[in-house]
Amino acid sequence: MGEECMLEKQLVEESIRQSGLPCHALRDLLSIGVCPRCIFRLFGVHGDVYSCLSLSSSLLWSVLDLSNGHEEATDCKVHEGSSSPQDLKVGPEFCVVCWGILQLSYDEQAQQTFDLVASTAQLVKGEGFEIDSFSLEVSVPPIILGNERSVWLYMKKRYGSESRFQDKFFSGSISVKDALRFSITKSLEEMLAVKVAVRSFHIRFTYTHSDASSKISLVQGSRTDGHKKQKRGDKELLEGIDASDLEINKESFGLDIAEQDRIFQVPPAKVNQPCKVTTLCYRTPVYVGGRYLKYSRNVSQTRWIIDEERMGETSVEEIIGNLTLSILKADSYKFHAAGREDIDVRMLGSGRPFLVEIANARSLSSHTEFAELQEKINNLEPRIVRVKNLKEVGVDAWTILQQGEAEKQKQYAALVWISRSLEDEDLKCMSSIKEMDIIQRTPIRVLHRRSPLERKRMIHWMRAERIHGSKQFFILHLCTQAGTYIKEFVHGDLGRTHPNLGSILGCRAEILQLDVTDVKMDCFNS
């Protein structure tokens, strides 16, 4: 124990040196109620001192007394009405700048730092997260900035004349968030057995304080006081205030100096309670992509429920999503695909690219065998859906999916009937059609939910394949621009699609079945 104390005292002394503050200034700050971590961070001190568990005001006092014992009586300018070292031991006192955020250890409350780290570790384990790293996010009430400014002004008033302070303001002062990270990262790394890294797992600490909200309403109250507040307003140069103070001005709620003086006391006022912290841990979304095939004519792509009644047996979204959700032990999923097909249209051939966005997965995606997941999905009975090239993809996958959708060509196979016999000339005629423009009015079957427009689309090529033993039925293979309504191209939609297959062949044409045979997109191909 003795060695640790020595080490810590050395760290504190080193930090005092780094801050460049004379002892009387340090004592002054301590006496108005600023905690050691805030003192060090506002004056740009870096180092392991932040993670010292026993770093407290009393420790700092004792180090100061030891080093400058004989100077104490003459040099220390103690603020009127502030507490002396003895008073500090009476009851909990919270830092007037950070309101307890950086005060992780106290006399009676020396357990506090362990609570924060221990409770966080418990939370992570309790939720069942499998992690290989973690990163910390901190959110603090913005009022803290106002408190910092009050301390600066206080120091300026009392020590501004001393030249060694002139260049100290703002150069290298560390924010509360960074200081908190310095303080607990090492302990957390030990407890969670992983290192800090900005990857998928995040721990968020949200600090709130009841006074913060009342101060904010004060600020907002003064804002509505008639005159306009500008952030970069007319710089009122009051006496003794220069440009660096106006910099705080910009951050502090866009109020001018007089307003801030009214709301924020100099030095900052004391508070009775510390900030309360809420800890949340989550994982950033995991993206799983691939191509799917749909073999059923009674399964929709996404969940389709009208008036509480489900249309179709099930949906591709649910089949793929539910299984992925259970393997990754996640909270929820979102299904995106590059285009869609009707419920009675099969998706065959190369498959349609899709993306599943998994929220808050508990398992590590790098430890997941996606080949296994693909097998599981493909082996589900009944065989409705098949998945290919399933793997984890990056965040940009969604953009790639959206970009390709409108440009790419799609290939179909349709079972067509015509009102007369199919002749060889018809086959030739259809094969000779290349890059034909058609105009489609919005089909009546979707007109109730889409705009009435005339859409120009292109048929790239067509090929008819005779069916053995049938004169009027045949299979039509065609390749069209994305967004073409194939059923309407075949039967004409009461003449609203022109030209249509019937007008090309000079007879009536009906479509019985449709299958998508290829979605020509350059993604998820392997």
Partner: protein, 207 residues
Amino acid sequence: MTDAAVPPPSPTLEEDSEVELRRLLLPDPNLLILSPPPSAVDSNYVHYFIAGTSLYPSPFCFSCLESYVICKLVDFLKPGHDQYIYRHANGLCVIGLAPTHASLSEGGVTSVDFNVGKSDRSEIKVTGKRKKNAQLLEPNSALCKVYASDNIYIARCCIKGSLLEVNNRLIKEPGLLNSSETREFATQGVYSPRPIWTSELYQDGGI
């Protein structure tokens, strides 16, 4: 489109994808039996036959009634001015002249004019998902004027609703109405009816 009577062949995973595709695309023989198969217009729409009341209905109108599901008699149509309504499952209706309409039997329609006095129905421009600028019309509102050998017939809207579009092709090609093959293309207009009308229909026609 018809549903397959037999469940489609289930895929096996070991097959090469090209081979599998060819096998899956082979049509079910049961589908090829029906010739002609039900047309898209027959299977996607409910057909209503609208006729004017008359004590002596024309004998022609009963023969074609087989293809209609429901017949509705109204008082704002003169006898012989038979029209049809095709109602889609999503509620939209397509209006047109029935094959037994008087104008069609006299040598044919010579021209169609959508200008019915107050406004020209072919000039409407409906935009957007909410179908802005669609005209709200009454059942007895005039839809268009049909000219056939010195007679002028007025086609009515037959339902209360918003007119979404009219068939401009009829202005240039009124002959579409005359031949039975192209009559399908000779619809007069597409309507978005008010919900109340559908319940009226159910009460009168009976389901």
